[in-house]
């Protein structure tokens, strides 16, 4: 048997969902593995298979505590196992493991049931949280970048700033769910065992549209609620529109009077500059 064939067989057996009691599927024979006097071939594979599933589930537990609070621990476990079976990791880093969760969950709304909308909002927030944690920081806009100030100027938004239009106010719940939790890191060569974790009860969240910026400051993550107009300008800048076009769209759609809007614009731009959100395009 060639190396690649062996590795394909092993990987297929390894990544097959675990059965009752987290035992390896009885269908898995793993005849390419040598048994020893204490363990059958399948039992030897089971050590790896459990470690694989526990490591990935553990990573999802750490990255999505808010989703866990919304759907409950049992449903979360089921949902995560189904997600991982459909979307195994395609990246060398576990950091990217949940990158497909929002689109996957959108196609599997029956799993969170009547909590699908709030669950999707939370997943969007939690993925933005991950991106904000270690996303790239471009050079902050300085006075030298504003020499040609005018309607055709393009200003960028830091890549680590996430902009979200949400149907539920999931930010407060996420803050409670992740209190004192730090991003996980990869350890070296250690087998992963299942971990006991506390789950926060979400209670009932009432729908309320919010606009949110997920960003970092002094290497901590913050959620900043935005006004609708503020969100739209930032979104337009993110899309690469000029200042002139971004503001024109905002003026056209705004419910504020020109005087109020003008006052707010001054305040918003000052805040974005202070937060270091604006960068060169």
């Amino acid at each position: 048997m060639k190396l690649v064939e062996l590795q394909r067989k092993f990987a297929a057996d390894l990544m097959r969902p675990l059965g009752r009691g987290d035992a390896i599927s009885p269908k898995t024979k793993a005849r390419y593995i040598k048994p020893n006097t204490r363990l059958s071939a399948a039992e030897r594979l089971e050590i790896y298979s459990r470690s694989y599933w526990y490591r990935l589930i553990d990573s999802m537990y750490e990255d999505f505590p808010g989703l866990r609070a919304i759907v409950g621990p049992r449903a979360f476990d089921k949902l995560v196992r189904a997600y991982l079976a459909d979307c195994p990791s395609r990246s060398f880093t576990l950091r990217d493991l949940g990158s497909q969760l929002e689109s996957w969950l959108g196609k599997h709304k029956s799993l969170p049931g009547n909590k699908a909308v709030v669950a999707l909002d939370m997943v969007a927030l939690e993925w933005a949280h991950i991106e904000a944690w270690d996303g790239k920081e471009e050079k902050i806009l300085g006075p030298e970048d504003l020499l040609e100030l005018g309607p055709n100027l393009r200003i960028g938004l830091q890549p680590y700033v996430g902009l979200l239009d949400l149907k539920y106010p999931v930010d407060d719940l996420r803050i409670r769910a992740s209190a004192n939790q730090e991003r996980h890191e990869v350890a070296s060569n250690a087998v992963t065992k299942p971990k006991a974790r506390r789950t926060l009860a979400a209670g009932r969240l009432k729908p309320q549209q919010i606009f949110l910026a997920v960003h970092r400051m002094d290497h901590s993550i913050y959620y900043r609620r935005l006004a609708r107009d503020e969100f739209r300008i930032l979104q337009a800048l993110r899309e690469g529109k000029t200042i002139g076009r971004a503001l024109a769209k905002c003026v056209k759609d705004s419910s504020l009077s020109p005087a109020e809007l003008s006052k707010n614009l001054e305040k918003w731009f000052a805040a974005w500059a202070e937060l270091g959100w604006l960068c060169r395009v």
Partner: protein
């Protein structure tokens, strides 16, 4: 053998793995530590706190990079994006050598995030050695491969694990990160004499040594890095040092991580063996 071409001719002492729970202690109290081993993947990011912490550590300490996802033994090609990101960290840390495992972990672009066991075949040795060479040429830093703990063996194997290790390092002309705890764990899981393994290791290629604790189960031993080092592993370490000479040594502690001082104290137990070997 304090320094050789596989560890960049350095003479590092006893290090410990840099772990998140110890960040504050290290940055605030600046304890005296010979060097820190970092997991490269934790810093292969675009920005944010991980890189800020790394830069602060680099201001005070010597750092050596250890990887967990190069997968030299995977049949597929090396991931160029991975290598590019890794090289950025190498430039940042100026690591004198870089290590990763003698294992596989991905196939057809799907990742297991585990260190999976190799079949000990000549084909696998050839593929693995070629990838080690390619990585070294790209990264421009000496590479050492680490023997892993394993829980399975394959029917198609054509040699012992230590013969496979020798075959790979000779073909790749690379160094060895000798993990004596992994030798112990595998010797118990596969019923071989760990001293046979140690005695076959080409001493001139050993760049670094790992020690760690593990967990015993009824039918096998798991490499969990969540306990102190046990006496039989210290004895193996003693034997390794007698053969290899004074070598950069690192204690791994990755789960149920105690205080920094406790981890450091455990690591410094290695001094007893290193002093005798001088």
């Amino acid at each position: 053998m304090p320094a050789n071409r596989f560890n960049g001719f350095t003479d590092y002492g006893i290090g410990i793995g840099l772990r998140i729970p110890h960040y504050d202690h290290i940055l605030e109290r600046k304890p005296v530590v010979d060097w820190f081993e970092i997991i490269s993947e934790n810093y292969m990011v675009d920005g944010g706190r991980p890189l800020m912490i790394l830069d602060q550590i680099l201001e005070q300490y010597r750092v050596v990079q250890h990887g967990v996802s190069m997968y030299f033994g995977s049949a597929e090609k090396l991931n160029r994006d991975h290598l590019r990101r890794l090289k950025q960290v190498v430039k940042r840390t100026k690591t004198p050598w870089l290590s990763d495992h003698l294992c596989w972990g991905s196939v057809d672009g799907t990742y297991s995030h585990d260190l999976l066991p190799m079949p000990y075949t000549f084909e696998a040795a050839k593929i693995t050695a070629r990838k080690v060479r390619e990585a070294r040429d790209f990264l421009e830093v000496p590479i050492a491969v680490e023997n892993v703990s394993s829980y399975a063996e394959f029917h198609i194997s054509e040699m012992t694990e230590w013969e496979f290790l020798n075959e790979v390092v000779e073909r790749a002309d690379c160094g060895i990160l000798l993990d004596v705890n992994n030798i112990y764990v595998s010797s118990r899981n596969h019923s071989f004499n760990p001293y046979d393994y140690l005695n076959s290791v080409p001493v001139e290629r050993v760049a670094q040594i790992h020690i760690a604790g593990h967990s015993k189960f009824q039918k096998y031993i798991l490499d969990t890095h969540d306990h102190p080092v046990i006496d039989p592993v210290w004895k193996l370490y003693d034997h390794a040092i007698q053969r290899v000479g004074v070598t950069a040594t690192l204690l791994e502690w990755d789960d149920h991580i105690p205080s920094f001082d406790e981890v450091h104290r455990e690591a410094l137990k290695a001094e007893k063996y290193l002093t005798v070997a001088v």
